[in-house]
Amino acid sequence: MKYAFFPGCSLESTAWDFDKSTRAMCQALDIELTDIPDWTCCGSTPAHSSNASLATALPAMNLQKAREMGLEVMAACASCYARLRTANHKVKTDEQERERVKTITGAAYAGETPVRHVLDVLVNEYTVERVRSRISKPLSGLRVASYYGCLLSRPPEVVAFDNPEHPTCMDELIDAAGGEPVDWPYKTECCGASLSLSNANIVGRLSHRLLAMAVEAGADCIAVACPLCQMNLDMRQADANAHGKLPPTPALYITQLLGLALGLKPDDLGLNALTINANAVLKKISSGERRSAQAGAAR
């Protein structure tokens, strides 16, 4: 399995741990990633809020480069993924948009490069059963609230590879990794995302709602697949606590949790980048391991 990888700006800065864990996990699963050479920013929310032509052209420039590689694109950042998919949708459905992209980028592009999210690749190409067969250190006893956020699900006709109101792909992967997915109602509620810098108070309120619900559902940690969600739930957990004290709840990338279950070391997965450390998670996994070893010996 081979993909052209689009890391995006967050993955080389605030979310370098998502980058590291995605690459390590894919390597462990024999999924080959080659970076799109000289990739550039997708434009994210500021582009689609400010300049509609730019919002399609910036992703299209990268998809043109990937077209040369003859591979499907895989993205990890949910926002990049949504912007790349939206650009494909626009050029496929709007002839004027296609013309604009040609004028702006100097080359034609009609949406020839398919774009996949790492979760989509894992569940719909690699398959959950194959992931299960590769697990060497099960997340035994670990209760995980899977948080999908907005952009992996909405709008469904552009981005969804799962049920947009009740997605289950991360829960299935957590189950395959030996963990316990918890049932909770805020899987696709918004964390405030790009308002993080401009309106931290709103993001604090929304993150508090999410964290409080995950705690109430009995989660030991939250699994995320978006750098903005991760930052709002992890680094801004102190801000969220201003809306009511909560026990520290680690928010790990799904690629970090799967990486641990595949036997990778915390350092290979960038766990040291977390603000709320994952010690409780690691302890729970190793005590689960000891319990199952003892049970095995008793038998």
């Binding site: 800065s13 500021p46 809020s49 420039m61 702006i104 909405r154 995302a193 308002l195």
Partner: protein, 187 residues
């Protein structure tokens, strides 16, 4: 007493529909968008009210609202609208119209963030976080919020002191920005 609104200005509705491609006129005020909106408590207008004001041609009031800037583009409204109006897309159009028409924004922070972000991309081809955050703080004169987080972010290598970029790609991006600005003027 509430002011009576005469439904005479259809030009605004037509422009918003043309630019966004969304049939705003089809909104039947079911309020499904507003009930699912995560930012509704902080908004001065609910999303369904924004749709109604566009229908009524209340351009100045709509473009001067806080709501269009606080919309987080979570797409819950777009996904759930029974009339298939891309409400989040309409919010994008309204933000662009507000800038084009120089509407007085009640709060410049979101717009300043967008500008600082895009300037960074225009210059480097990718976002240079530390530079972008500094530019944003200088422009908003908001020097103190989040400064407590910077040392930890630097220690955890979440921010770097230098931009990551290839000069060839940055040049391509700069040219794309220039041409995209020209294309936008034709809309």
């Amino acid at each position: 007493m509430t002011k009576a609104v005469e439904w005479t200005n259809t030009a605004f509705l037509e422009e918003v529909e043309r630019r966004s491609g969304a049939p705003v006129g089809a909104c039947l005020q079911c309020h499904k968008c507003s009930t699912g909106c995560p930012i509704a408590p902080e908004m001065d207008l609910l999303s369904s009210q924004v749709m109604r004001m566009v229908q009524l041609g209340l351009d100045e009031e709509t473009l001067a609202s806080k709501a269009i800037w606080l919309c987080a583009s979570c797409e819950a409204c777009t996904t759930r609208c029974p009339m298939e109006i891309d409400i989040a897309g309409v919010m994008d159009t309204l933000r662009m119209l507000a800038v084009e028409r120089k509407a007085a924004a009640p709060d410049e922070r979101v717009r300043t963030f967008n500008d600082s972000f895009l300037k960074s991309v225009r210059r480097h081809g990718r976002v240079f976080e530390l530079g972008m955050m500094t530019a944003y703080k200088l422009r908003t004169r908001d020097f103190f919020s989040d400064v407590d987080k910077v040392p930890a972010m630097l220690a955890k290598r979440k921010l770097s002191f230098l931009p990551h970029h290839s000069s060839a790609a940055a040049k391509e991006v700069r040219e794309a920005f220039k041409r995209a600005d020209e294309e936008e003027k034709k809309r």
